[in-house]
């Protein structure tokens, strides 16, 4: 084995320029993949982070059927206190759940005494909501970042359109689920930046104010947003929740709740998916580069060394040994490229991180891109290169191993 490596390395050194060119090509491929994976991964994570941490939470639970008519924010589809209790018990029993925040979502009118417009509001427990959405506070600009009773946080678009400023008094009027109308005066304590997606243009009030406006006798919750300790466990927690809640049936014997991850709540999931798809695509490009360049070099190597192959075959080297000699050479070529590419690529990604590239996403500006390369990426890419290099050298190596020694020896 050591001798196969020795011979392979010396042969690679014999055609030094070609070896350098080919492994550089492979290295460049690896660098591109690392840069793409690093940058797109960080962009994706930031995007998902913005979605989940400032608006959606990781998972949401509703009464079965709520999502189908979420556009109307139907108060009749809210969850009764017993149902909410059950859910809270379930959340508390799952250690991966970091926090959760019950919300009363409703639509109403916002009046400044001179002008009136539609508004969608979330009634929340401020601490729970802030804990579940750690980035929410950063969206609430030029205002007190809290949501106190008697106060309202209104969406930026309304604030601009109706020239409402922090400190102004407004009236919120809403129809409750029985059809009667009620209103309440609230003080504007903050303006909230919009984000794209459902709920991205909603205002906030304290949950008790929401109850009062809606004349609820008992608290009826529209949705509960859940935050996990480890975002990586999204699907496992989702599955656990689904199993635990599947036993909860409504009067019709159907499941009482529906559970959604952020993926089915935000249109940005498709963008995240297409980033993943592009990553696959760019890895396929790397595969093609490695395959073609290794194969090309090994075909040449076999052709140049026909007489050598004839010699070693004549003196009794078994076909399998000849095959492994050439495969070893091809794989080494790939490995050299992969090592160089991984080192340079990781360095470049680190450099991008150090120079702090900023970009804007939605209404968020000045987000700092923090690209990163994981060990997993490096291992995966190295594995791809190695395996593809084996495949690329197999055909020429096989051809070499099948050569008839006399024909090969006569070759000029």
């Amino acid at each position: 084995m050591a001798n196969l490596f020795k011979i392979a390395i010396r042969n690679l050194a014999r055609y030094r320029r070609r070896t350098i060119l080919t492994s550089s090509l492979i290295a460049i491929g690896v660098i591109f993949v690392l840069l793409f994976v690093g940058v797109s991964g960080s962009f994706k994570n930031m995007m998902i982070g913005q979605m989940t941490d400032s608006m959606l939470g990781h998972i949401q639970v509703h009464r079965k059927g709520y999502m189908a008519s979420i556009d109307n924010l139907p108060l009749t589809m809210n969850m009764k206190p017993q149902a909410v209790k059950k859910l809270e018990k379930v959340f508390q029993d799952i250690p991966d759940v970091e926090s959760y925040s019950p919300r009363i979502k409703f639509g109403g009118m916002l009046s400044t005494f001179t002008e009136t417009t539609n508004i969608r509001l979330n009634g929340v427990y401020p601490e729970k909501e802030m804990k579940t959405l750690p980035l929410l506070a950063s969206r609430i600009s030029n205002g007190g970042k809290e949501i106190r009773k008697g106060e309202i946080i209104i969406p930026e678009l309304l604030s601009r359109g109706m020239k409402i400023n922090v400190g102004d008094i407004v009236v919120v009027i809403a129809t409750n689920k029985d059809g009667s109308v009620n209103g309440k005066q609230l003080k504007v304590s903050g303006i909230i930046e919009s984000v794209t997606g459902p709920g991205g243009r909603d205002g906030y009030v304290h949950i008790e104010d929401a109850m009062e406006i809606l004349r609820m006798e008992e608290m009826e919750i529209s949705e509960i947003a859940v935050r996990l300790r480890d975002f990586g466990k999204l699907h496992s927690v989702y599955n656990t929740l689904n199993t635990l809640l599947s036993g909860e049936l409504n009067k019709q014997g159907k499941p009482a709740f529906e559970v959604h991850t952020w993926e089915s709540l935000s249109p940005f999931y498709n963008i995240a998916r297409s980033i993943d798809f592009m990553t696959i695509f760019i890895k396929a490009m790397l595969t093609a580069i490695v395959l073609i360049s290794v194969m090309n070099v090994m075909i040449m190597a076999v052709y140049e060394r026909i007489r050598e192959i004839g010699t070693i075959a004549a003196i009794g080297t078994m076909p399998g040994k000849i095959l492994s000699m050439f495969v070893t050479e091809g794989v080494l070529l790939g490995i050299i490229g992969a090592i160089a590419g991984n080192i340079i690529g990781t360095g470049l990604v680190y450099l991008l991180k150090v120079v702090k590239i900023t970009f804007n996403f939605g209404r968020q500006s000045g987000l700092v891109l923090s690209p990163y390369v994981t060990l997993y990426d490096i291992v995966m890419i190295s594995l791809i290169v190695t395996i593809v290099a084996v495949i690329g050298s197999l055909q020429p190596a096989f051809k070499a191993s099948r050569m008839e020694p006399i024909k090969a020896l006569r070759h000029v």
Partner: protein, 237 residues
């Protein structure tokens, strides 16, 4: 039993529709530890015959036994194994592996063909390098030594596995006369030292003189068998 026994072997090459009879039914026997030469004009079939004896090719007709083995019975793999075990090769163009040093070239068959322990490998390699007088050049690469030196290394490589038979197709064709003679002398000395049978081909009449048994080939047939010290067509040694 003779080391090599050929019975009416025929080798026909087919190029398109044309059949070429390279070997036309030759029979001969070669004893162990002999020093045999095939001579004859170009195209007479020397290379073809050596390839047959060396199990690199198989006869179209006839029986051929090498080291007691009916080589017609062997498949591709078995022939490779057989060659590795029983036959050493010396080539006209030396055919050393350019990326390996002199030492590594001689060592090569012990690693890649046979599986010999490190210690024994080193001993055998050094012994052979010493025997062919290339010990001092052992760390040089083939392109750093002369043609005659290359062929010495090739002789060492052919002998390192202790084969019963060494085949050399025109081993001196690419060497000047003086060097050619020393290489043949070396082979002869090796034959005596290791009791190995050497079969070589040449069309150089002066080199032929060194052989003990000389077969003359013409148009694929043996036209003369000359044994040193015995008259032409002599029956016994």
């Amino acid at each position: 039993m003779a080391l090599v026994k050929a019975e009416k072997i025929v080798k026909v090459y087919k190029i398109g529709e044309v059949l070429i009879n390279s070997i036309n039914g030759v029979s001969f026997e070669i004893e162990e530890a002999s020093f045999v030469s095939f001579v004859g004009p170009s195209g007479s079939g020397k290379t073809t015959l050596l390839n047959l004896i060396g199990c690199l090719d198989s006869p179209t007709e006839g029986n051929l036994f090498v080291a007691g083995e009916d080589v017609n019975e062997l498949d591709r793999r078995q022939r490779a194994l057989f060659r590795g075990k029983n036959i050493g090769f010396i080539f006209q163009d030396f055919n050393l592996i350019p990326v390996l040093t002199v030492y590594e070239n001689v060592e090569y068959p012990l690693i890649m063909v046979k599986n010999v322990s490190t210690k024994e490998r080193e001993e055998r390699t050094m012994k052979l390098l010493d025997a062919v007088g290339m010990l001092e050049q052992k760390d040089k690469y083939p392109d750093q030594i002369s043609g005659g030196q290359k062929q010495r290394v090739a002789v060492a490589r052919a002998l390192v596995t202790n084969p019963k038979l060494v085949l050399a197709d025109e081993p001196t064709a690419n060497l000047d006369h003086k060097t050619a003679y020393t290489v043949i002398e070396l082979m002869k000395r090796m034959k005596a030292e290791f009791n190995t049978t050497f079969i070589f081909s040449t069309h150089d009449p002066k080199i032929v003189e060194a052989a003990e048994v000389i077969y003359t080939l013409e148009d694929g047939e043996i036209v003369d068998r000359h044994v040193k010290g015995v008259n032409s067509n002599g029956k016994s040694l």
